[in-house]
């Protein structure tokens, strides 16, 4: 319950018009700050939602695969379709869809799915996650054209490089997880 309240406060904060305008003014902030924060908001809501609708998650996401898949579909849509960000800025309905899809169709299913996934499932998800970031970085670094009408090429390149660092970060996390047992920390 406590998490859900924090999540709600955070959610409302992200929806404030000045916060929106700052977080969307720079491409890197838009993709690598606002969007992940929205996913985290969804994660904070998850325990509360699972308490409210225990049957739903148990029934439809028993092994975590459908939820993980949904997470990736939403993630790839926002990261790899360049016009998604432009559309979010220029069209209100797409912006609303962003604020609903990232928490509830990406954040919630991810947190619900993660513990249900097998060790192999988690590894596959982590590696896919790194691959998505890797492809995004290639897309934005290598493209000679301006892909988003609202952001200049220099910002696009910056986004590409930050994506590459994120991909490398995820890979390092994955590699260390092979050697370090999680149980030891708990």
């Amino acid at each position: 319950m406590k998490q859900a309240i924090y999540g709600l406060i955070f959610y409302i904060f992200l929806m404030l018009p000045p916060v929106i305008s700052i977080s969307e003014s720079i491409m890197v902030l838009h993709m690598h700050m606002q969007m992940p924060l929205l996913v985290i908001v969804g994660m904070l809501f998850t325990p509360y939602l699972k308490e409210k609708f225990p049957g739903f998650f148990e029934k439809w996401n028993t092994n975590g695969v459908p939820g993980t898949l949904l997470f990736f579909i939403i993630l790839i849509y926002w990261m790899m379709v360049p016009r998604a960000m432009d559309d979010a800025i220029s069209t209100l309905s797409v912006e609303i869809f962003k604020f609903i899809s990232l928490p509830f169709l990406a954040g919630v299913p991810l947190r619900d799915s993660w513990k249900k996934l097998s060790k192999r499932g988690q590894s596959t998800a982590l590696i896919s996650f790194a691959i998505v970031y890797g492809i995004v970085s290639l897309l934005y670094i290598a493209s000679p054209n301006q892909l988003c009408n609202n952001y200049i090429v220099a910002e696009q390149k910056a986004l590409g490089w930050t994506s590459l660092f994120t991909a490398i970060g995820i890979l390092i996390y994955y590699v260390q997880s092979l050697f370090i047992e999680e149980e030891l920390e708990e």
Partner: protein
């Protein structure tokens, strides 16, 4: 077994949702960038060229209705531009050369419109005309002195201009063809010169044939 079946249904539902999301989000897999979506949308909407006052390199002022009854091929530029605009104008000159002489000026007029009226004064436009060998009559270099009118035009033709900190602009570029009634009919890739010239010639042949 029952559980498994439900997982399969869930996965299929998620996939179907994903397909619909990507289909709608990219106009049926046709437009992955906002620029391609914009071109698609413009060709469907066919916005009318707003009646703005243009000022050209010969210091003439007139409204866009000056060109009524003729096709107008136009580009948006600023003369201080060092990368895209010269290429855009060079290619426009190539298209101009490929249009039969008897059409030039009679059936079609070429127009370059500056979106930087502060720096692009008459002098700058004149220089630009000489640079690209335009005759200042059938291919005119113009600017729109009224900022509000300029913005209206850029908005209705979907031209997005972002000033950067060093006095330059990032902007999208294309050839725009406006019909004799002032409606936008084609937005063409400015890098495909022959394709654009072919298209324009076909349209002009049709017009003359009528």
């Amino acid at each position: 077994m029952m559980k498994n079946k439900q997982q399969v249904i869930a996965i299929v539902l998620v996939m179907v949702f994903g397909f619909i999301l990507y289909f709608v989000g990219t106009d049926g897999f046709k437009a992955f960038t906002a620029e391609s979506a914009r071109t698609l949308q413009l060709e469907q909407d066919r916005p009318t060229f707003p009646n703005v006052i243009l000022e050209d390199s010969k210091e003439r002022m007139y409204s866009f209705s000056e060109f009524e009854g003729k096709y107008v091929m136009l580009t948006f530029i600023y003369t201080a531009c060092t990368d895209v605009c010269p290429q855009l104008e060079m290619n426009l000159a190539e298209v101009y050369k490929q249009i039969p002489d008897n059409y030039i000026g009679e059936e079609i007029v070429f127009l370059s419109i500056s979106f930087d009226p502060d720096r692009d004064d008459i002098e700058a436009l004149k220089k630009y005309s000489h640079y690209f060998n335009s005759d200042e009559e059938t291919w005119r270099m113009t600017r729109i002195p009224d900022k509000q009118e300029l913005q209206n035009l850029l908005d209705s033709f979907g031209v997005i201009v972002i000033p950067d900190n060093s006095g330059n602009f990032t902007h999208n570029s294309a050839f725009y063809l406006v019909d004799p009634e002032g409606k936008l009919v084609e937005v063409m890739d400015y890098t495909k010169i022959d394709e654009a010239a072919k298209k324009v010639n076909a349209i002009l042949n049709k017009k003359v044939g009528e």
